[in-house]
């Protein structure tokens, strides 16, 4: 069979499929009611999330500030300890250069 014949066959199949449309009337029944119910749910869910996220902002802000304070204290303590260690036992600079 050549390509033209196959094309004709395919066109005939498409025509049959076009003619045989699925009846969606049952699925469409009361669709608007179900849709509005879902929209209500979606809106409530999104508004709950929005409300929760807004209310959590102060909590996260406090967390960030606490972390910042804790981090700065650790940095200060570490640098103080390093300075003290250096003052007590200063390393000769030559030892850093003569690694081999």
């Amino acid at each position: 069979m050549n390509d033209q014949e196959h094309d004709g066959q395919l066109d005939a199949l498409f025509a049959q499929a076009r003619a045989r449309r699925v009846d969606t009337s049952k699925a469409e029944y009361a669709f608007e009611t179900r849709l509005l119910a879902r929209l209500r749910t979606e809106r409530e869910t999104s508004s709950v999330w929005a409300m929760v996220s807004w209310r959590l902002i102060p909590f996260f802000a406090v967390c960030v500030v606490a972390l910042a304070i804790w981090h700065s204290e650790i940095v200060t303590e570490t640098s103080d300890a390093e300075q003290m260690a250096y003052v007590e036992n200063p390393e000769p600079l030559d030892s850093l250069h003569n690694l081999n």
Binding site: L13, F14, R18, E28, L35
Partner: protein, 185 residues
């Protein structure tokens, strides 16, 4: 409620929805649902998936209504969303490996009202089985072009692809489909 709104143009209903009138959106859904269901039924695996696709379409339309620019009819805009949703479902199904059964929708509790559906034709079974083997893009373009009888320009508008891209994809899809149908013999 709804009947009083039946003569109002779509654009006014859009405005009313944006002002918070959900019944106006229900009227929009009532007007355009059959088109959306018609297109989605070409891609949906079963009745549940059809309902999911159509609900997703209208939920997205509702939440993105402010993005509707009114440069084309509302139906056109909704069909663009429908096309994208159908494509998403095709991709999702392909990833999950769910195989499309032929006329599954009619067989999965679909009980259509009058007239009773004709028995699945073996030729159509072959066509649907072949369509299920195409890539999501190929299936989308060939379905819209050949089964929904949309023009190349319309498909380009719905998908966001260029017209030449649509033509190339349609050509490739047709060639692949021809081969698949041939091999099924």
């Amino acid at each position: 409620m709804v009947s009083a709104k039946s003569s109002i143009p779509d654009e006014q209903l859009v405005d009313a929805t944006l002002a918070g009138d959900d019944n106006a959106f229900a009227e929009l859904a009532l007007r355009h649902k059959s088109r959306v269901f018609g297109v989605a039924s070409r891609f949906a695996h079963d009745a549940a998936e059809l309902e999911d696709i159509c609900q997703d379409v209208f939920v997205q339309a509702y939440f993105k209504l402010r993005q509707y620019r009114r440069d084309s009819p509302f139906e056109h805009w909704v069909l663009r969303i429908t096309t994208h949703k159908c494509y998403d479902y095709l991709r999702k199904r392909r990833r999950s490996g769910t195989h499309l059964s032929v006329d599954a929708m009619l067989e999965s509790g679909y009980e259509p009202s009058v007239p009773a559906p004709p028995a699945p034709h073996p030729d159509l079974e072959r066509l649907h089985a072949a369509l299920a083997q195409l890539s999501p893009k190929e299936r989308l373009v060939i379905t819209l072009l050949e089964l929904e009888e949309r023009s190349v320009q319309e498909i380009a508008d719905f998908t966001g692809w260029s017209t030449s891209n649509v033509k190339v994809r349609a050509f490739r899809a047709r060639a692949a489909l021809r081969k698949l149908v041939e091999n099924q013999k």
